[in-house]
Assembly symmetry: D2
Homo-oligomer: 360 residues x 4
């Protein structure tokens, strides 16, 4: 029953896919060039070029925070502003990484809500700015978003057009990029560089790897400086092949998309059961692998007693203008590459058992 | 024969120990708390406390550069000076990581030579400094050094006493700490905190791991800020257990010391053969796993033709006042946890075959 | 009539008091020690100690932005948060100076409105914060505020108590400190260090000087590092006596308070006339030397035609929840040490002439 | 006799020229646009364009350190290297300002000696650099140098050609630019932008002003970012006209060159007398307004007893390979715009009186 306890708390808590473990074990037996001068890293770049159908540069890094900070440090000067949502990982979960990496750039939140929208961003970027205020340098969006939504291709294109027109860079935080691609069934190129994205933080860690993150650079003018910034900030692995091996295992045979599709499907299934069972009310459409649920405190407690701890979430992430009714809580459930149909069923059975006594 | 090619180029180029691979594969099958809130990370701290016989804090990070920069950023203000040797990794190989992480602190080289010495450092720290110059904040030494030397316990104690007297911090870059401990047969505590060391970059990557580095904090006053700085600079792994699992595998049954002892022994054996065979002249005593050799260009070329590429090294790292004779080069050979007696013998046999034609 | 044009636009646009000019001219004839090692600078410190009735350290700097950034850089680490109002100078007018000087600290706005209030700040500082978010390091308030309000002694004491309890520093931006002291008729000590303020940016430039700003450090533990940070950031004048001479002239015979009292009195008088004449509606109480007025666009245009350009102000600085009626604008008028009764009368006469035609 | 005491200690210790005081007093009586939006600042830009015979941008700042750091922060990334002499002000006297302003760039000293030379710099910039080391971004020279030498036009052109070829920027620290121009009798354009200089720190403070420094930007691509960096680092005066007024007074009727020429002439005269009188030995040619003298300790003491304190200087600034004989000291004498023939004569007379008893 122990496994149940933290079920669905985060895709960071899953283990690692066997294919990734095997690839790593195989690579471990050989000698490799250091600091990225190895065959696996060279192969990884080729693989990403295939996936994105274009020339690009790949900079593997240890963490998603490192990827976001590295990408944005290449485009935002110390007096720059980076536009994001209030709930963006760069704003809410990275302990000031962007500000530090850029020497002081400021994160600006031009609008409430879980997505940046082209109309508002256009208006925000059109405001006059004198020498006394920070100067817009970049917009950054998460795909999928922190609320489990996927930006539609048209939304990204519109933002890309605004960014280009105002001469600011366009960064995408793709810690859950695989989930977004799987959800949209879109070509990776169509929701990135073809839509105006300059740099992408491509995440593998939440999708079956140990630690595999990369900055994918479409705007090759930025590549040279990112190389040095990566080293200077301690993000260049000496045995870089160990990141490349993980990524290669996950990118082979479209595993990264299959794993993400599984996570998405289990999330959809779980969400449906949550609604059907009357356990709680879905706050946002479930478009990727995250589910946000308004749930009665009494039920939450009953679930805990039954062995499932759900992860409470701050109500500041509710849709603008809404709030929790008395006696209710907000919780987040996340599925992953390893979530199985059995996991969902086990959860639903547990919910059924608390059905009567858990009701208010 | 392919394997021979880059033999002895760097301990970064070795693969990974099977015990580490196995531990990682085992851990990969389970769910774990994220961001270090996992059992393996808790166990790692306990293990390091045992090894160093004291309370301490452990901050795992991705790279040695990250470890050094993180440790020094906690003690050197932007107007600080950090004293080191000219060949220190922080000076010569980290692309300005220390300067960046501290917001501008300067690396100062108070003396030529491969080690900092207490008498010179004491004198340097006694110089008057007004508001126009950077202020000493820390000294940092590498153990083992970049020239493959081990600081003797008495040398470290003397530096520790000077640091304490001048109220500057004392950091040790232990990318090859295992090799130093194995070489000195000293208690880890005796050559670190008991000798006045405040923080230690403890390296596992060069010693059988994929990517396992940590800042060991003996001066617990520094721990809190290092926690936040680590996160802010993108060094906190979400699946932190994967670093802990590697370290635990390497620290179990004193493997880390056995692996390092093997590297040291093979280096000693290799060095002896190099001298005996007349291949070249040893530049520094071989106290750990690095060998620096003055070698005739003709022999170097003959070796290359025979399939072994040795790594040329800048002559700026020669002892002060010495230089290479005409027609000679400086090369570095490094052994590792995985270097076998057979490897050394294979090398020596190759040397023998080029014996006559390689001679000038 | 030219002078009228930009009347009341800013206290930064006034000239300089004759007493300051004379003091500077006198000092200019002598040789002085450089970098603050001069008699005038020594005398300035003594003078400030008298005024604030305590030991303190004085760091003269070129600008108010330099003062704020220097003071906060001494207390906020790169992963710190500094709490301020949305309209604070550090947030709205310093081009990211605080973020840059601290290496990345973030400005947080815990509440809407023109003042920080102890109850809200206490609640904000009581929120749990994990390693993923910036850590509160300081609160900063402007005295007088950007809306021309003066914090009452009890308000400052309450904030000081909260700061102390949560172990964060307390900084005061006193670009218009003189106006606040004159308005409150309070002892400078009572509204600074006795109320818990650690550092004060003391402004002279808006109050009769050329360029005279200083960080007054009450918490002497902070003094040493501020000395070096000032130099490192290019804020230490070689002929520092020229700032000291200005300050000394303004602090002699309570001139600084008389000048500020004049500015306040003319502002009060101007505000009264604006209301009486029906020119516009006062938005905030006029407690110092700034007046914010809601005015009909037609009147604003008529004034411009008559030769007075008033300074339009963003409606984002209106009280929370309020907005401008159709056809109205927000303007700011500022008086200074040099504003005379005649200036106010001239303005009012102009207003009278546009009276009828300017009315909607 | 008091005035004698610190005679010739530094050009920072002189007072201010009457013409500058008068201009400031006149400007003080008027209202001016703030933050550089004033007529005097506009006029200053026009004046500098005349003097340098080209389009350029002018950024006034408070101090020479601010000017150097601002100029270099616009061209050196955090992973950059800035090449300078060991005795450069940026290296020896600015408390790490460059490192801080650039986010970590490193100052590199490619050669011993008081000047950078094109041949050595070319060789240094030709060295291969991989990702592990900082990347050259700029060279910076002082004109006149810290040893009182003037770079000849041909020397500057040669450095400019090297900088251009290696795609690094070329900065000139002109804290004593006036002295160099007066010494060389060269067109300012010829020793700056025509020779490849991108940015110049133009100093007025040591040459008759209170505090008047500026970054002159010849490479206009750099101008925009310097504007924001200046504000962000607290260097933009609200009453910026007060710097412009000082500069304008000093630039009118070639006063800046006359004052510098006087300083140079008095230095030459003083140097000659020092040699003739046997007081000491000149260490460097006296090309500007600084004199470095090797002097017997006994004489130095006798001078002190007679009322003149000369400024001792570190022997690390002696020519490479030379050292002081036993019983000797190195002193520096500096003349200024206000040094008179009478000052020199008074000094020489004093020297004469100690003549016999001061001799060893």
């Amino acid at each position: 029953m122990a496994k149940v306890t933290t079920m669905f708390v985060s895709d960071n808590q899953s283990g690692v896919a066997p294919e990734v473990v095997e690839a790593l074990a195989a690579a471990a037996q050989k000698s490799h060039g250091s600091y990225g001068g190895d065959d696996l890293t060279a192969e990884l770049t080729a693989r990403f070029r295939d996936i994105f159908e274009t020339d690009l540069a790949v900079f593997t890094v240890p963490t998603g925070t490192a990827a976001n900070a590295l990408a944005l440090s290449a485009v935002a000067p110390s007096y720059g502003a980076v536009l994001c949502t209030a709930d963006a990982h760069v704003m809410a979960d990275e302990c000031g990484a962007i500000e530090n990496a850029t020497g002081g750039a400021r994160l600006e939140v031009p609008e409430a809500g879980p997505k940046l929208t082209a109309v508002v961003i256009d208006r925000h970027l059109s405001l006059p700015r004198d020498v006394h205020v920070v100067q817009p340098a970049a917009i950054t969006i998460a795909q999928a978003t922190e609320r489990g939504l996927a930006y539609q291709p048209a939304e990204i294109e519109a933002l890309g057009e605004v960014a280009r027109r105002h001469a600011v860079h366009f960064h995408m935080d793709g810690a859950r990029f695989a989930n977004a691609v799987a959800a949209l069934n879109a070509a990776p190129a169509d929701i990135t560089w073809r839509a105006g994205v300059d740099t992408l933080s491509f995440g593998g860690t939440k999708n079956g790897c140990f630690a595999a993150e990369a900055v994918i650079v479409f705007n090759l003018d930025l590549a040279r400086q990112i190389e040095f910034r990566r080293k200077q900030r301690g993000h260049l692995f000496s045995k870089n092949w160990f990141v490349s091996a993980q990524f290669l295992a996950s990118l082979t045979d479209d595993r990264w998309l299959k794993w993400a599709a599984n996570a998405n499907a289990q999330a959809a299934s779980l969400a449906e059961e949550i609604e059907t069972s009357g356990l709680g009310r879905l706050i946002w459409p479930v478009e990727a692998n995250e589910i946000f649920v308004e749930i009665a405190e009494t039920k939450l407690r009953a679930l805990t007693d039954a062995g499932i701890t759900l992860s409470e979430w701050p109500d500041t992430t509710l849709p603008v203008g809404s709030s929790l009714p008395a006696g209710a809580k907000l919780v987040r459930l996340v599925t992953s590459f390893s979530t199985s149909k059995a996991d969902v069923e086990q959860f639903i059975q547990l919910v059924a058992t608390i059905g009567s006594e858990g009701m208010t």
